[in-house]
Amino acid sequence: MTGEKAGWLVSPIVNHPLGKKFKIHKLLMFIDYLKFFFSFFFLFFLPGFSVLYLILRPKLKISPIEYLIFSTGISLALVNLLVLVLNKFEIALNTSNIFNAILLLIALPLVASTFPAWQLFPSRKKNNKQSAKNLLKKLPSYLQLTKNQLLIASTLIFISFFITTNFLARDIVPNNTDLGHHMYWVKLIDKTEQLPAYDTSDVIVGEHIPFAVLTKLTGISVLSAFPVIFLAFISFISLLAIYALALRIFKSQTIAWSVFLFAGVFDAIADPLGKFVSGGVVGNILGNLFIPLILLATYLALVNKKSEVLALAIFLTGSLFYIHHLSAFLLLFILTAFALIYLGINLKHSPKILGSWLKLLLTPLPLIIIGLFITTISWIYLPHYLSNKAVTSVMQSPLKDTHQGVSLSGFISSTGDWRTILGVLGLAIFIFLSIKNKGFKKYSFALLSGWSLILFALSFFPQFFLVDLPSRRVANYLIFPLSITAGYGLIILLNKLKSNLNRQLFLTLLLAIVIALSLNGLGHSLKYFTHENQFGDAVQLYHASQYLDEKTIAEDTILKDHANLKADTWIKFFLLRGYNYILARTFDYKYEDPTKDRETCTRDMIVAPDSSRGKECYQETGTDYLILRKDIDNFFFDLSDNFSKIYSNDTTVIYKKHE
């Protein structure tokens, strides 16, 4: 059989005694990794950095971490846009076209920045000659790290990486459901060198382009660790975005790193972080980067009255519509709540404020970006979910139980006890202190309270907003604002204790808090510090899938047992015969869902193949191959005269129906 990672060209070298002696395969693996790492830098840092260099740097002082997070977000948005444009003009999405176009994308803003007309900042020339150290010194003091803060930050980052990496390593051979769905489309783009015609609203083109360009540029199959590593990098950058946003809101490194503690260290492997990365929940991971970036850009634009930064926020928002519909949808609610709360607390001046926002918006760069968005959506590429009923089906009274709000206990168990308690407490303290303090930062207040409160409302009472979405998924978006308020609440609490207690008592209490938080926050992560070999199932499923690919043709109909097979969504990745080509028997409860009229043939053909209903279904669907979990529901097939077992390994069997 031909392997997905066969590498026929290099395998003679690897398998040669000399190749084995010098461990050539390890060298090749390292080279592959270097290709991935530098391609990530080339694709998802440099384009954004060069654009930032052109438009932002002269206008606003931002920290190196803000450079990093914005560069990544802008790069993702630019690469998506670039591929959409190339595809529109029927330019093949091959390695050389992608490489040249990205190179142009990086070079153009850098070249443009050398023209006098683009030198937006008069003293820029002088600034260029200054050292990085001097430039950093010009940053507001709260954006700079002291030696102790650097030590704390490095420790927290190390723990976060350590926990997440250990968790991801346990499940790193691709097998998860969502990742399998997405990588099917990526492989299709890779093979056809054009964007596919999507026939499902479950996925969006922006979820696949980053992987497609990475696989094209590196030549590494997505049936490897790289999709998960890519998502892990993006997820980590989103944690930095939360830190950066908290730093701008509270102007305190202590609070910002406390926020990082709640966002990236405690429950680091829970939804929507580690588990989403491992599961390949691509849209959510990307959405979790874009939402804080857009909020940070909007905040910076409004506070500093910078139209260029507002243009950046609009550009990222437009891009989010091509990446993840749920995130984009919720972002609109968050921005609306932010604006309404700000106008509400400045009711007397609201017409003036609206005027100043409009003035900021009606400047060249934001208008160009809005024009670009309209052109993209109306002419270049319309996301599939906008062209069907996906949007209207969301804007209605919720029908399912799971769409009618999360329960408090369910919410706390998924968010983390301490994060919820301190988060709610922190939010209450933040609102109370902000209102009490006459000179409070109104934008910070409106942003954080608007973000938290609207998501609370949508999670617990979606019926008031006519939003028909899985409430648990909406509640996942609360993790970030709750982490911010929890981090804030913890520092306020500790400061209060420090000023009211003697040193000894304070230190005892501090120790108790640290132990309680660590046990609760790290407890879930610790149980994953065992290394069982879970990869046998996935590798055997790949083997069976290759067999199906080689022995069946597109006219055959294949049924799989999704309820029992591990990694089954990857079968279509090997066959590449259509997203819905394979019929799937799903979980029993789904057949009994009263809100959905569902066919039962996919179940009946497996549980009762020789019954009259089963036979009827085989005739109706034309199913002639079945791929099942070994020793589950095999009994009737083994006894039947109508089926033959044609393939078997330790986990998977394939049956052929007699003609």
Binding site: T146, L168, S224, A232, F535, H543, S644, K645, Y647, D650
Partner: protein, 121 residues
């Protein structure tokens, strides 16, 4: 030299190094484990031509050790037509084409206390 680097830049440097190492570790774990033989014990048996009404079959040994496979061809009533055994080294694949296959209905493969029965398609 490190002293001259601002703390903010040091943090970015630390992030890049840590990200590189964490990513490499994951990449290595995946590459090692993606291998059919690495820390795994399994066997695959399958018909080579399932659409051609043939009993030609293959055995692939990923048991991690040399394994003896005994196979028999039987008629529909269970009568054994032919029996043989082969020894496969780890990672070895063997295609088995039988001259007496026209007569048989089933292929029974036994190894390490396991039994797999393939039935003529």
């Amino acid at each position: 030299m490190l002293k001259s680097i601002p703390n903010n830049s040091k943090l970015i440097l630390f992030l890049v190094v840590l990200g590189f190492l964490a990513g490499f570790y994951l990449f290595k774990v995946e590459t090692d484990n993606h291998n059919s033989q690495y820390h795994k014990e399994w066997t695959a048996v399958y018909f080579l031509n399932p659409t051609k009404n043939s009993l030609a079959f293959a055995i692939e040994n990923y048991e991690g050790k040399e394994t003896i496979y005994q196979y028999s061809i039987t008629e529909i009533n269970g009568k054994v037509i032919t029996t043989a055994e082969i020894k496969l080294s780890p990672g070895q694949k063997k295609d088995i084409n039988l001259e007496t296959e026209q007569l048989g209905e089933k292929v029974i493969i036994r190894y390490n206390d396991e039994e797999i029965i393939l039935k003529r398609p």
